[in-house]
Symmetry: D2
Subunit: 254 residues, 4 copies
């Protein structure tokens, strides 16, 4: 069983009728519904969490029972508590998978795990996007085919200031002339991270079955096979417990 927490800042949905119309129950509900629909094998346990909940919805209890988290945020990145970000990062280091969606590229948690600005160019013109599958046998591309075509999307353009991806799954072509690395994998500690570009508050991207399939695939890919619980520990190995016999010498400030 993979325990999934679908996190959403859930702010646009409260403020903008155009967004409410597309995501009346919030973007998180659309994503969670997609995961549940595709979970015909009964391997997922899906719940949602939002910014307005206590601890931004990400208490120790929630994190401690989450194997994979999906993250959507846009206008409220700064509202996420730094302590919450630290907790999420620590959980990723131990093994939790993290799927960062669309405008989540500028979230505190993504920038913290990447160590780079994660900036990009953008344009809202409802143009056509084609995500090419550049690694067709990758688990995240299962069942997707050579490309995903989206009739109306926001454009994200390079340069995308991320660390060189460890694995790339999708690269986007845009009608207006730009390209973008749209599906990228990294590891941070024992956690797997997948950034997936599509998704926007004023387009029904998360209702698209193919997009849902990618997120579903990514959740399975990012689920930890084991936990590295003490990854943050920095244990002392006393001289008399060294693997080889040694004589301790020299000064110490400890």
């Amino acid at each position: 069983m993979i325990r999934v927490t679908v996190w959403n800042e859930n702010v646009h949905e409260q403020k903008h009728p155009a967004v409410q119309k597309i995501y009346p129950q919030g973007i998180h509900t659309a994503i969670a519904d997609g995961l549940r629909r595709l979970d015909t094998a009964g391997q997922l346990e899906v719940r949602t969490a939002t910014l307005d909940q206590p601890g931004n919805g990400l208490t120790d209890e929630v994190l401690g029972s989450t194997d994979v988290m999906t993250w959507w945020g846009h206008c409220a990145h700064d509202k996420v508590d730094d302590k919450v970000v630290a907790r999420v990062a620590a959980r990723v280091h131990q093994g939790m998978g993290l799927i960062v969606l669309h405008s989540g590229h500028f979230s505190k948690i993504f920038k913290r795990l990447m160590g780079t600005p994660c900036a990009l160019k953008w344009r809202e013109a409802g143009e056509r996007e084609r995500l090419w599958t550049i690694n067709p046998a990758h688990p995240i591309a299962r069942g997707i085919g050579p490309c995903i075509e989206l009739e109306h999307t926001e454009m994200y353009g390079e340069p995308f200031s991320i660390p060189e991806p460890e694995e790339q799954v999708f690269i986007s072509w845009f009608e207006g002339g730009e390209v973008f690395r749209s599906g990228n994998c990294w590891r941070r500690g024992n956690g797997r991270i997948f950034y997936f570009r599509p998704g926007h508050e004023t387009y029904p991207i998360y209702h698209n079955p193919v997009i849902q399939q990618v997120i579903h695939n990514a959740v399975h890919w990012a689920a930890p096979s084991a936990w590295w619980s003490d990854i943050h520990a920095a244990p002392n190995v006393p001289a008399d417990q060294a693997p080889e016999p040694i004589q301790a010498t020299g000064a110490s400030v400890h």
Copy 2:
């Protein structure tokens, strides 16, 4: 001309006679002197900065005139202001090289740029270390030979929870039986980062000419060939400025 700032928390040197004896002018002075000694071609402009100075010694002015920074810290990592860390990270993203030394593995700036815990095992027993050059033609290994032998060092042992290095230059063997990835390269944005393990407050590591040579080599390797000044910008590309003609459509919350 490469402008180098040698940063040091400079705390142990004020408190512990054993450290004062080895580094009477501070670890930073030993490192800076080594760089100046080896700069026979007159390509470096070396200065030092310490935690107790205004802005932790790293004001906008200092950073704005630094091409490569070396970092030593140990007991006062938490005393470095978060705003200073953000400034240093931003400068690295734009192109500044960063050489992180020894216990700097747990500095805020290194963990921020790596995105991982950067934890390790350790033992102070004055044992022998041998750093093997695993990439002998790398610029950082210039003139170093097959290995560096240090008679008395603190041990750092794996697992070292860093992202997979993009290039490895040295791996250490320890008398007590452990190994460690001791010389590792990464890029973050436009900045090059080198972590170099040797160096300890109670051993005269930074007076060792071979260690000085590695740091000197690393400074040259990490110096930016160009700056990416606007790496943090996320510009909008209006529909009428798209490279290909498009018709804007769809809603927007902006």
Copy 3:
């Protein structure tokens, strides 16, 4: 079901009594027996193949029904037919996992997939080796613990001229003073490759249950989740089948 082919040149075993004594049925049999012993879940179908068989034991039929191959060779690397090597490489590209053992570092297939010399230093002195698990939550390290200690081994020393590993699992410490990257992962096309250092014809390494466990883990890790059958194809996309409508123009030599 994962179909495993354990390949062995099987030459030393025919010639040297010291080797015969340790591996009376050949190294391949010891490796295959270890895999079968650990396959308590009944997920593996294990067979062996050797150099002296038709097609070096690696006919199209054998390869076409192999999901993961383990490779042991030493003195007869040059006896493996170039056409067989090409077939094995092609199968790896499509998705077959490949576990290269010990002196297999100099096999044609490993050098071909790596693109580098894969050279190293060596010493036969029966010294102690300690393989440190540097990525303890990696599937290949499952159940292994912080390190593997081998009382008597051949030494392999750096520099090991391989491409930078994509993931490292083990680094070795040797009694005589050297270190070595002993467990390294790469992908080539759709195939996963794991190089694992231990194993030698005159030491009973492949009878060691912990070594068997690592190989067993690696087989599971390297098994393809999907095949990329047409990875060698370079299809033409005629102008009238372009995703976007275009007008063909310009000359061609085709």
Copy 4:
């Protein structure tokens, strides 16, 4: 001084009037002329070599005095002698830079160094291409700007079956709807390799000053800072020369 050898199979130019018209002196001459034109600092020594010369133009003497090679081939890949390919690969391992151009993706030398099929999709329709600079401060992108626009090019489309690039500099957008990783860096042994997509026998790509600038930049980037001459050696370290004193024990087949 960087010694550059511009290699070209030079076959289309002898056979097809359409190619002769664009490259009357051969593609190699256009590339070499571009390098010489841009070498205002007098740092390059440029010569050409072609398939029809003795040793395919790549004798030990030529290779031994080459720091960086550029490679263009298309219809005669199979005509390059395997021994020549082995020599070129060995020189790359020691430090020679290699710039592989356009249809060189299917050359023996590129496939050998990559270890993968290096296949792709293609279309000759004279469509528009835009190469986006995704790493604007990279030395290879110096002076190039946000993108390179080519009015008429052959299309190359993903999936491009290469190992994950270590650094990416350019990604292409095509009028017909595809994308491609057009400027990619790898290291193999001590050699730097850059694959650059543009260039075609029936379009005047290599007369384009911006394309020439990229190749010029790449030559400087790929030039070795040091040679690793004995990278192919696998030396024995006798027990009595081990860094740490050990007692040799155990059997050996040597």
